[in-house]
Structures are given as structure tokens and as C-alpha cells.
């Protein structure tokens, strides 16, 4: 892990703020997101529905839907800012340097074209190889993601593949241009558990082999525990804890992260009751002052109502909570 962090990051977010300007005023959906991902590293981004996971991914690849916009902060890909690039340039980066995988494979696949045509086109747009070479590469990729008889299946249409097989094709497509970074937004959420396990294994193996960095967005802690090197936990548009996967999953520090982990039923034991965080995550138009978690926090202190805790180092990770403000 230390060798990883020594290299300069593939992706770095600095104080990213995303806002929606609506009739009812400006809603701040991401409020100062900062993290980085090293080459070959898998960063898991977890949090409940509406926490801002997908928006973070969308902001990185320049796919925020208007009226959403980056209001401030920076997105750096291999040290270069990409948050203010013209749309054309960003589109090129998106195909070449950043691969994407979404929950629904049909977002990434065109139903009218054969799987092979789509792979070959992606390969030829971004790498200077002949049609034949591209086809050979496409077949090799399909084999690598675990499609049986790839030399036959390459001429099939997306609808001829099962959901799990389609998601394998999408992984092949995302890797086709040999990107530095993959953004995978709930890549296994729509899949059955037995298929999910296979997809996760393929994604992890291929990125590891190629040294591709991965931002893995999911609400499934189990998937994170299996796959990620580090985890960022989001709440109400903020990262409230980030650190090595084992620390965050086994001994979370932030009261919300603790509650979240405790609320997940486990396979290996049956507690009398699941830990329960009262209430629900606030809506964007009603994010509390100070610590956004304070109305639900069992440890709330007077200052939590006014001051906002920032991410500060705790152990090998960082936590945004006044309880963990040791030292200064």
C-alpha cells in the first residue's frame, strides 16, 4: 500500500463542489469532496442513496446533467486539470483515458450494433491499429472477461447476451482503449449474487493486471470489502471517512460509518437486533448546519450544531468528526 501512495495519483479531487441552480435556490449536492486514487488502486465510494456517489463520478467524467455544474474545486487526471476542458476534449478523455461501467449494461452498449463492432470501433478510435488487429484484440478482451467462445460471440448483438454476460462485455469495452482510470457506478447492483461475484472478480483481476485505477461506486459494503483497497464513505454530499478498507469496514471511526456498518445484517452471525440509526439522510434543501449528521448522531456535542468538522488524519485514514480531533 505504501508503494502505491508514493506514486502520483491517477485521479485527484480537490474540494469539489457541485451545485444545482433551481427555481427554489441553489442546492449544493457535493460539498467539498477531496480524495485521490493511485495507479492500480481501487477506491470504493459508499454511502446511501442520494449521498452523492454517482454525482462524484459524473463530475469527474464531465457528465453532469444541467442544471448541475461544478461550482468550484478541481479534478485532476494524472496531475492535469480536466474540470474546465471543452466538451470535445473531455469526450475524448472519457473514451481513451477514463473507462466507464454503469449499473445497466445497456447504457454503454448500442443495441443496434454487434458487440464486436462496438469493441473494434472503440479500439480503433483510440489506438492506432488495423481492423484485423483490433478484431484480434477484441476477441482477446472478450476471452479475458470470461465470455465463452469469444470468436463466435463477438458477432452477437447485446440482446443475445444475458445480463451478466452483457456486463462482462461492458467491462471489455471500458478496458478496450487501455484507460488509466475506470469509473464503475453500481456495476453489479442489477445482477444476481452468483453473477455479481464473478463480475467483481473479473473487474478486480483485469485492473490489477493492467495497473488501472478504479473508482468503484456502490452501496453494497460486501462488494467493497471484497474489492477495494481504500474506501470513502459519503454522507449528504461530503466524504465523512476515508481509509484502508479493513479499517473502515471492521473498525469505522465516524459515528455515521459505525451506524452504517452495524446496520448491515451479516452472514456469519445473527444479532438480537440490527444497529439502527434513527431518522434518514437529509434532503439537499435541508442539510443541517455544522456537522450534517448531527441531528442523528448519538454523540452530538454543542459545537456540532455550528461548526463543520473537516477530514483530519486518524490512524491510516481520515475522519470528519469532532470526536476524533486529537492533537491540536
Amino acid at each position: 500500500m505504501t508503494t502505491l501512495s508514493a506514486k502520483s495519483p491517477v485521479l485527484e479531487l480537490r474540494n469539489l463542489v457541485v451545485e444545482f441552480v433551481t427555481r427554489h435556490g441553489t442546492l449544493r449536492a457535493l460539498d467539498g469532496i477531496s480524495f485521490s486514487i493511485a495507479p492500480g488502486e481501487v477506491l470504493g465510494v459508499v454511502g446511501e442513496s442520494g449521498a452523492g456517489k454517482s454525482l462524484t463520478g459524473a463530475a469527474v467524467i464531465g457528465l453532469l446533467e444541467p442544471p448541475g455544474r461544478i461550482a468550484s474545486g478541481e479534478v485532476l487526471l494524472a496531475g492535469q486539470r480536466i474540470d474546465h476542458l471543452p466538451i470535445e476534449e473531455l469526450r475524448h478523455i472519457r473514451g481513451k483515458r477514463i473507462g466507464t461501467i454503469f449499473q445497466d449494461p445497456l447504457t454503454s452498449l448500442d443495441p443496434l450494433y454487434r458487440v464486436g463492432e462496438q469493441l473494434i470501433e472503440t479500439i480503433r478510435t483510440h489506438l492506432s491499429v488495423s481492423e484485423q488487429e483490433a478484431r484480434a484484440r477484441a476477441i482477446a478482451l472478450l476471452a479475458e472477461v470470461g465470455i465463452p467462445a469469444p470468436e463466435k460471440r463477438i458477432d452477437g448483438y447485446p440482446h443475445e447476451f444475458s445480463g451478466g454476460m452483457r456486463q462482462r462485455v461492458v467491462i471489455a469495452l471500458a478496458l478496450a482503449a487501455e484507460p488509466e482510470l475506470i469509473i464503475a457506478d453500481e456495476p453489479t447492483t442489477a445482477l444476481d449474487v452468483s453473477v455479481q461475484a464473478q463480475i467483481i472478480a473479473v473487474l478486480k483481476k483485469l485492473c490489477r493486471e493492467r495497473g488501472t485505477a478504479v473508482m468503484l461506486i456502490t452501496h453494497d459494503m460486501g462488494v467493497i470489502a471484497e474489492t477495494a483497497d481504500r474506501v470513502a464513505v459519503m454522507y449528504a454530499g461530503r466524504v465523512i471517512e476515508i481509509g484502508p478498507v479493513r479499517d473502515v469496514v471492521k473498525s469505522p471511526k465516524h459515528p455515521y460509518a459505525k451506524g452504517l456498518m452495524g446496520s448491515i445484517p451479516a452472514l456469519d452471525e445473527r444479532p438480537e437486533r440490527l444497529l439502527q440509526i434513527e431518522g434518514a439522510m437529509p434532503r439537499l434543501n435541508a442539510i443541517p448546519q455544522g456537522c450534517a449528521f448531527h441531528p442523528r448522531c448519538p454523540h452530538v456535542m454543542p459545537r456540532c450544531h455550528e461548526a463543520r468538522p473537516v477530514l483530519a488524519p486518524v490512524g491510516a485514514g481520515q475522519v470528519a468528526c469532532f470526536l476524533h480531533e486529537v492533537g491540536q
Partner: protein, 327 residues
């Protein structure tokens, strides 16, 4: 041990006709296509217990649930609640229908958006003539709202004013409004975030204990089922492949599919336990494999498995288990 089960299902079967429309079929010379969604499913649920059905998408869990409640006519099989049989023509008698309610996955779709929460919850009381007057009805609605952790003042609001978890609480209140004691829950927390899921699962457990409810609980999530169930039935391609008490199933899974399913669940405990990689995917149910439908994915399959459907014996439907065959 009470002798009589609260819910009893025997040899339930459901076949759907998934053929093309008649004319197209005739023109293209195709045969009728039948999909056996549920086949030879039998189980019982004891009073006050939770029987969970688990299995992957398309395994037939919801179809069983809908047949048990009488919402979907079965192709064959018998169903009874508290010894009262389901009449294939007329469903359950009115007195029993009051006692049987259902909770669905999607709390957004299952509540009528034009109705106030109070009306939604009072509807079963009206349907079964359970409240003598409006005061009584209102008092009962308040009581139910409190029971599920909401505010009596919420009765005048509309469903869209609530979050997913709160809507599921409303659905639970409605299910309890007719004093139901058998509740069929189809993926009641699958659309909810984990922290909200914890609230709803805890609530359902509390209500079950306090009101003595009998639950048929459907989920694809093994960890949720581990938390909720007394007895678990594992389904694969329309059949029950294993039925066991919860502790036994997790400690000693016997059917190869159950083991595969347990192995596939991501290891949140990060114990580093060794796991068999999962093989293959669920086949197309329109043309399922012969014999044991699990045989193309099963590490223990042999020639008998390819031809002979294993019957449920002592809680497992598997030739290898019955022959005590290890490899």
C-alpha cells in the same frame, strides 16, 4: 410443538403460457411455449414463525407468494391458512382474507398517491367492516401509525411526502389494519438503503413478537434472511432445493446450490475464508436443463443427475446428498 401449521403449501405448480400471439405462431410454425415458473413446491409454516424463500431472480419466489395469497391462480397444488383451504374458484373465505395481507418491495408503487395515508390505512378496515364509526376508525389509524413508528398527525399527508422507509411503514400499518396474522412480504426492504432496511427489519421483528405474526418472507439477500427467518427454503429454477432451520442452513448447507449461493456472497467479515469460484449463470427457464436443473453448474453432477429430477427427501433435493456422494 404445535401440530397444525399456520400456512401449508402442497405440490404447488404454476405454468405460464409465454407463446407468441396465436396468429404469429401459426404463421411462423412455432409451438406453444410454456414456462414452468414453480414446480412441486411444498412447505409449511408454524404459527408465529418466519419462513423465508431465497433464490436468485426468476427462481419463482414471488410466484409462490402470489399463489399462497390467492392473487394468482395456481396450475395445481393446494394451499391452506390455519386449516382453511384456498378454493381454486373462489379464493379464501372472507373471514380468512382479513387475516392474510401482503407487503411488496416497492413502497412507491404500492400506495395510491391520490389517497391520504389515513385513508390508505383505513381501507382494509372498511373492506372488512371492522370499524363501527369514523371515530373508531380514526383512533385505530392513530394507533397503527404509532405502532409502526410514525406520528398520528401523518394520517392527513399524502404518500409522496414520505421517504421510502416511511412508506414501507405505512404499508405495514395497512397490512396490520385488518388484524392480519399472516403476512406475506415480498422483498420488503430490497428497495431501501441498509440503514433504513435495519429500521424496517427491526420493526417487523418487534411486531411479529408482539402480535404473534406468521411471516412468509421473500428475499434474494441471504444475510437479511439469516436475520429474519426461522426456517429457510432455497429455490432454484422454480423448485425448492433445500429447506432447513436457519442455524442449520448456515452452519451446514447441504445442497450444492445452497453452498454456491453462500460462497457467492461477498465476505463482509473479511475473514479471508476460502471460497469456490461460482460457475455459470441461471439457465433460461423456458428450456431448463433436463434432470436436476442445476446439473450444468454443479460440481457433483453425474449421469443420473442429467436425467432424473431429484425429489425432496429430508429437506434436500439432491442425488449426491442422498447417495452420500462427495465428489
Amino acid at each position: 410443538m404445535s401440530a397444525k401449521p399456520m400456512v401449508s403449501v402442497t405440490h404447488a405448480r404454476k405454468v405460464f403460457d409465454v407463446s407468441q400471439p396465436w396468429l404469429e405462431r401459426v404463421l411462423s410454425g412455432q409451438d406453444k411455449q410454456m414456462l414452468v415458473a414453480v414446480d412441486d413446491v411444498s412447505f409449511t409454516i408454524k404459527k408465529g414463525e418466519t419462513f423465508a424463500l431465497v433464490g436468485e431472480s426468476g427462481s419463482g419466489k414471488s410466484t409462490v407468494a402470489r399463489m399462497v395469497t390467492g392473487l394468482l391462480p395456481a396450475s395445481s397444488g393446494t394451499f391452506s391458512i390455519d386449516d382453511v383451504p384456498l378454493d381454486p374458484e373462489h379464493g379464501y373465505p372472507l373471514a380468512l382474507r382479513r387475516r392474510l395481507q401482503m407487503i411488496f418491495q416497492d413502497p412507491y408503487a404500492s400506495l395510491d398517491p391520490r389517497w391520504r395515508v389515513g385513508q390508505i390505512i383505513a381501507e382494509p378496515m372498511k373492506a372488512f367492516g371492522l370499524a363501527r364509526n369514523e371515530d373508531e376508525e380514526r383512533a385505530r389509524v392513530s394507533q397503527l401509525l404509532k405502532l409502526v413508528g410514525l406520528d398520528p398527525a401523518d394520517a392527513v399527508k399524502f404518500p409522496h411526502q414520505f421517504s421510502g422507509g416511511q412508506r414501507q411503514r405505512i404499508a405495514i400499518a395497512r397490512a396490520l389494519a385488518s388484524d392480519a396474522d399472516v403476512i406475506v412480504c415480498d422483498e420488503p426492504t430490497s428497495a431501501l438503503d441498509v440503514s433504513v432496511q435495519a429500521q424496517i427489519l427491526n420493526l417487523m421483528k418487534d411486531l411479529q413478537r408482539d402480535l404473534g405474526l406468521t411471516l412468509l418472507f421473500i428475499s434474494h439477500n441471504l444475510a437479511v434472511v439469516r436475520y429474519m427467518a426461522d426456517v429457510i427454503g432455497v429455490m432454484y429454477l422454480g423448485r425448492l432445493v433445500e429447506v432447513a432451520r436457519v442455524e442449520t442452513l448456515f452452519a451446514q448447507p447441504r445442497h450444492p446450490y445452497t453452498r454456491m449461493l453462500l460462497d457467492a456472497v461477498p465476505d463482509l467479515a473479511m475473514s479471508g475464508r476460502s471460497r469456490q469460484p461460482v460457475q455459470g449463470e441461471v439457465p433460461n427457464p423456458i428450456s431448463p436443463p433436463s434432470g436436476c436443473t442445476f446439473h450444468p453448474r454443479c460440481p457433483l453432477a453425474n449421469t443420473r443427475c442429467q436425467t432424473e429430477i431429484p425429489l425432496m427427501v429430508d429437506g434436500v433435493a439432491c442425488h449426491a446428498v442422498q447417495e452420500n456422494r462427495k465428489a
